[in-house]
Every structure is written in structure tokens, then in C-alpha cells.
Amino acid sequence: MPTTTIAAENLDKSFSGTPLFSGLSFSASRGLVAVSGRNGSGKTTLLKILAGLARPTSGRVHIETEGAAALTPSERRLAVGWAGPDLELYGELSAVENLHFFRKAAGREADTADLVRRLAAVGLAEEAMRRRVEEYSTGMKQRLRIAFATLFDPPVLVLDEPMVGLDVEGRETVYRVLAAARERGPVLLASNDERDFVDPDQRIEMKGSRRRGA
């Protein structure tokens, strides 16, 4: 399997002139990258920048796959799977309808049997998959977020607080997803709970306007 590398080069992010972090650089090709730091240290913002959902004030993010041509903007969009606490899916649609829509709108085939399999893999019962998402509990929504993040089998996975609201079984499900994903490529996981980082291969500690690599 070709190796995909995500690399950040001198990332700076400021809000209204106040720096959140600066000079942040790292590179990851496979395994778990633990992103830790206190509240407001910039974990969520960093992950959104890596996922292409926010722009850094300066610096660049590279995503390269060994032996492959440079990614087009559309490919790059789907190459990084992302889920975070502020990710919401359509409440009026069921989980299957949500995933079906995102596959279609992204220009990919949408096979219902495959979507059902993906939702079952994150622990959603078949009856729940057909219910509107607005009827879901916090934990069920979190499982759906994980299914969304892995919907396009991205080589890079970026998850922000994926364990929030999950019961023990849900956490084990996410650990399984993480274990499989870190074998394929880099997984960046941000959390306030050290227990979420199982044998991290690399650490990024956010310290407000400074970052320490380890």
C-alpha cells in the first residue's frame, strides 16, 4: 500500500492579530499522532487547518502519496477524513440518507449495502440507521460522525475529541477504527483525555502560541 504523508510547514494561526500558535511543523506518514493541550490551545483549529476547513495565517499543509501525482483540490478534500464536535449532519435525513447524499454530492458511487456496512461498523443498529438523525442520542450522533470521517476511506484521518459522549462499547468501536486507520496512514487525534491516546507514535503538544514536538 503506498504511503501517504501529511506534513505541516511553519503553520501560524492568529485571530484578530492575536497568535494562537506559530511555527508549527510536523510530518506523519503512518501511525497515531496525539494532539494534546489545554482548552483554547488551538487543537481544534489545527485539525481544521489540516482537514482543509480553515486557512492558516501563514504556512502550508502538504499531503502526498508515494508514487502518485499531486492531489487535485477535490481529491485533497476527500483525502483527509475529519470529524469534530462541531460537525453536524442533516437532522431531517436518516444516517443512511446522510451518507448516501455525501457520497453522491462528492461524485462517488453510493451503494446502500456498503453504507449500511459502514454504519454497522461504528455500532449503529439497522433500525437506527433508518431513523432521522434528529432523533439520535449524543452517542449515536458521535458514531455517525466517525462513519462520516471514514466515508471515503481517506488515507489521512483527523479526529477531534472522537470519544466524547460515547459509552464503553462506543469507545471500543472508535479504538477499532483508529487501529485499522493507523495501519493504513496517519491518524491525528486531538483529545483532552490522555487515556484516548493508545501507544501514540508521535505527539504534538499545543501550548497556546508555542508547540513542543516529542
Partner: protein, 223 residues
């Protein structure tokens, strides 16, 4: 999969949401029905001097259509941001595709509203249309431009504070030429002629709006 098929997926998703939630649809149709009823009671079929009727009726019709549309069309992107679904959409679908899909949905919503409003206008105000084909062409060209510009502006203001005020302020200079031309075309069509010149202007407006929206979609909605 073609960009059109992807835009259609966005349009179908919006339609499904709207059919289940009925927020924009109820607001648009309720406003259109209320405005039509008020106009018909205030003016009625005989309340206007015969010589002024074509111009006043055309203006009233487009005022009703515009303000009814203005209650629903700007919600296209604003609803995504309010519901928090904008991030998922930006993560997976290019802004141009989202804009095309949402414009298509808004265009269909406008046509549905026109299909209900115009028969009401014909009956309640005894509106005489001598060239129904020209009216249909005017509705198509005017409605398309209104849908594209409203949808684009919705993308532009979706993440701004005071978005409703901002929408009106930006929409006024952009939509005014379209409305004035659509009213001119409707006056000509009411008289029985084909409004070739106003329709050309409307089509040029539609083309310019489409190109502008296509080029600026990413800037307007993506970070």
C-alpha cells in the same frame, strides 16, 4: 460523476429536507397568499384605471413574487450554517457544486410559487394576459436570475453577523435591475407583444449572474 449529477444530489437533498421540515415552503407560500389577498382586497379587479393597469399589475405581481421569494430563497446557505451542517458540506463538496444545487432548488421553489401566485392574480385582479408564452418566458428568465443571485448572496452572508440586514443591503442594488427589467417584460407581455429586448437583457443578466456566482462561489463560502 458529472458536476450536474452532483448538483442534482444537493438539490434533491434540499428538496427532501424542505418537504420534511416545510420552513421555506410555508413562509414563501404564506407570504405570497397573504400579499395576493391584500392586494386583491385593496385594489380588486376594478380599482385601477384602465390605462395604468398593465404597469401597476406587472409591478404588483413582481413585488409579490420578489418579497415572497425573499422570505425563503436567502435561507439556502444560511440554513446550513445555522444547523451546523456547513462544515460537512464544505468538507466533501466544492462550493460551485453546492451553489449550483441550491440555485436549482431555489429556482424550482420560485417556479412553484409563481405557478400558484399567477393563477390567483389572474382570478382575483382579473388580470388580462394576451401573451401567456411571453409571461412564461419572463418568469423563467426572471426567476432564474433571482434564484442564482439570492443563492449566491446567501452564501456570501451565511457566516456573517446581522446576515438578514446584510442580505437586504447587498441584494437591493444587485436585484433591482432584474426586477425593473422583469416588470418591463411583463408589461409588454400583458399587452400581447413578445418582450424581445427586456428578455434579452434578462438573459444577459442571468448569464452574468451565473458566471459571477461560478467564479466567486469558493470565495463566498469556503474559508
Amino acid at each position: 460523476m458529472s458536476a450536474l449529477a452532483r448538483a442534482w444530489a444537493v438539490c434533491a437533498k434540499d428538496a427532501t429536507q424542505e418537504l420534511r421540515r416545510k420552513v421555506a415552503m410555508v413562509a414563501v407560500f404564506f407570504f405570497a397568499a397573504t400579499a395576493l389577498t391584500l392586494v386583491s382586497f385593496a385594489i380588486g379587479p376594478f380599482g385601477l384605471p384602465a390605462a395604468d393597469r398593465p404597469a401597476l399589475e406587472a409591478a404588483l405581481l413582481w413585488i409579490i413574487l420578489f418579497f415572497a421569494a425573499a422570505t425563503g430563497l436567502p435561507r439556502a446557505f444560511v440554513a446550513e450554517e445555522e444547523a451546523g451542517t456547513g462544515l460537512a458540506l464544505r468538507k466533501t463538496v466544492p462550493a460551485v457544486v453546492v451553489l449550483a444545487g441550491k440555485s436549482l432548488f431555489n429556482f424550482v421553489l420560485f417556479l412553484a410559487m409563481a405557478l400558484i401566485t399567477i393563477p390567483g392574480f389572474l382570478i382575483l385582479l382579473d388580470w388580462k394576459v394576451n401573451s401567456p408564452l411571453a409571461i412564461a418566458a419572463t418568469m423563467l428568465a426572471g426567476g432564474y436570475g433571482l434564484a442564482v443571485v439570492s443563492t449566491f448572496l446567501s452564501a456570501l452572508v451565511a457566516r456573517a453577523g446581522q446576515r438578514n440586514v446584510l442580505f437586504v443591503l447587498i441584494a437591493f442594488p444587485l436585484i433591482l435591475p432584474l426586477l425593473l427589467t422583469a416588470i418591463s417584460a411583463t408589461i409588454v407581455a400583458t399587452a400581447g407583444d413578445f418582450p424581445t429586448t427586456p428578455l434579452r437583457v434578462l438573459l444577459a443578466y442571468d448569464g452574468a449572474a451565473t458566471c459571477g456566482a461560478y467564479m466567486l462561489a469558493g470565495v463566498a463560502w469556503e474559508d
